[in-house]
Amino acid sequence: MIEMQDVYKTYPNGVIALNGISVRIKQGEFVYVVGPSGAGKSTFIKMMYREEKPTSGKIMINGVNLANIKDSKVPLLRRNIGIVFQDFKLLPKLTVYENVAFALEVIEESPKNIRKRVMEVLDLVRLKHKARFYPDELSGGEQQRVSIARSIVNNPSIVIADEPTGNLDPDTSWEIMDIFERINDRGTTIVMATHNREIVNTIRKRVIAIERGKIARDEVKGEYGYET
């Protein structure tokens, strides 16, 4: 469960990124965040994993107010949130298996559990057969699937994706969406910022549109609503 109340964010250089945002996202929801570039989408997303702190307002994630938690508690918060980026953020010198296992190693999971969990999620993203490959031996879509696998390997209740299909061709994007839907089916909340009109208009989900730092639209089974 994600809840924001009157969240404002002004960057030190004076740019107002969020100008009073209040929103509730229930556990298990699938939400698109849309809006023009520079409207505050990225800041909105970054608030949820506390890459940015709000200037004022409350951000509750699973009952914890992110505006109040200490820096030292941020790692614990992130263990309950999976994050997927447009540029995958994989480590080139590690294999697919190692990249996914990395997320469990740094939280000091036992080697036995690591093996089990990594193979499970690689199966889920259908990359079990490429576990020993290096990222640059994979296609863009496959790389994004590795990064999705990494984001869900520690069973987070929320997955946040910042334009996960931004670098991918249309066919591959559908594959990625298929995986997100399957993760969502297991009860994981998905918050996805996107510019992909076709996806938003085809796989109908809740749409939150952010313009000039405010929520301009919030529709169940909404549309993309912008010209591309």
């Binding site: 994993y49 820096d71 030292s72 790692p75 614990l76 918060l77 992130r78 263990r79 994050i83 953020k89 480590l91 990395f102 997320a103 190693e105 740094v106 939280i107 000091e108 036992s110 080697p111 990494r150 520690n154």
Partner: protein, 297 residues
């Protein structure tokens, strides 16, 4: 922390040393040069301290008893000397004993002093030792006005000069050592900074998947430790072998003088331990300084 995690940190830190070969080499060299100089200064300073201690131990006040003093006067004087604060020991040496010592100190030539055995011109002497050699002058001043006291002799001026000299040497050495340690630390912190920069993507991902700052810091911490410890090996080898050589060379010549050098053992082990420890400390501190700035913690 789990054993597996520790093993992982060790592996990562050693890998990083290899990846940044030249910077590693530069940092280790800096530590080597620093510790070499520090080691040489330490050897010199500790030996000077040792010699000073021995000289201090030999500092004594010779109280010549007035020739007219009776046995009762001497006893009274002895009691007064022993009562002075800061006095450790008072020994009596009669004029006959004094003459004997004088004859002995001249060896063969001393025989000519035998003539004086019939009519001894020396006076009886009380030898007063201060608890703290630095109080010698103060005590001597107190003794001078006492009754039945003839002359009071002690190494006036020389002691002070000696103390002043050792103090200067110590301060200069210390200042140099501190300066050198700082230089090495900054070099190490720069090396670590470069390794952090090379691994910033890895760190970014670690932070995203919920690694604690402590976890992220460990490999860098260990890397600094290695730089310091590896850097101390050559200085230890050089300083100790050089000291062993100098010691063997000087020992026979200095045998009968005040100037006794510190014996090789256990000094060698102590020095080696100090140098390793210093290396480890500057390594760790250097790495902590740069990691802190990078992780914004």
């Amino acid at each position: 922390m789990k054993l597996n995690t520790l093993r992982r940190h060790f592996r990562e830190s050693l890998k990083s040393l290899g990846r940044n070969g030249w910077m590693t080499f530069a940092s280790i060299s800096a530590v080597t040069v620093t510790l070499l100089l520090v080691g040489v200064f330490l050897v010199i300073m500790l030996n000077i301290q040792h010699i000073t201690k021995q000289i201090e131990r030999d500092v004594e006040i010779r109280v010549h008893v007035d020739l007219s003093a009776t046995e009762a006067d001497k006893d009274a004087l002895r009691a007064k000397l022993e009562a002075l604060s800061g006095v450790e020991k008072v020994t009596y040496s009669s004029k006959d004993e004094e003459l004997q010592k004088l004859i002995e100190s001249f060896g063969e030539d001393g025989k000519s002093f035998r003539l004086f055995e019939q009519d001894n011109p020396l006076s009886d002497v009380f030898i007063v030792k201060a608890k703290n050699p630095l109080d010698t002058e103060k005590i001597a001043k107190q003794i001078e006005p006492l009754p039945s006291v003839g002359k009071v002799k002690y190494g006036k001026g020389q002691i002070e000069k000696l103390f002043a000299a050792t103090k200067t040497i110590r301060n200069v050495g210390l200042a140099l050592i501190i300066g050198l340690l700082f230089t090495a630390m900054f070099l190490i912190s720069n090396t670590i900074k470069i390794t952090i920069f090379a691994r910033r993507r890895e760190i970014e991902i670690m932070r995203l998947v919920g690694a604690t700052n402590g976890f992220i810091r460990w490999p860098f911490f260990l890397e600094g430790l290695w730089l310091g410890i590896f850097g101390s090996i050559i200085p230890i080898a050089i300083v100790l072998s050089a000291y062993s050589y100098v010691f063997d060379l000087l020992y026979p010549k200095l045998k009968d003088t005040f100037f006794q050098l510190l014996p090789f053992y256990p000094f060698a082990w102590q020095l080696a331990a100090v140098l390793v420890l210093l290396g480890a400390c500057i390594g760790m501190w250097g790495s902590m300084m740069s990691v802190r700035r990078f992780l914004k913690v």
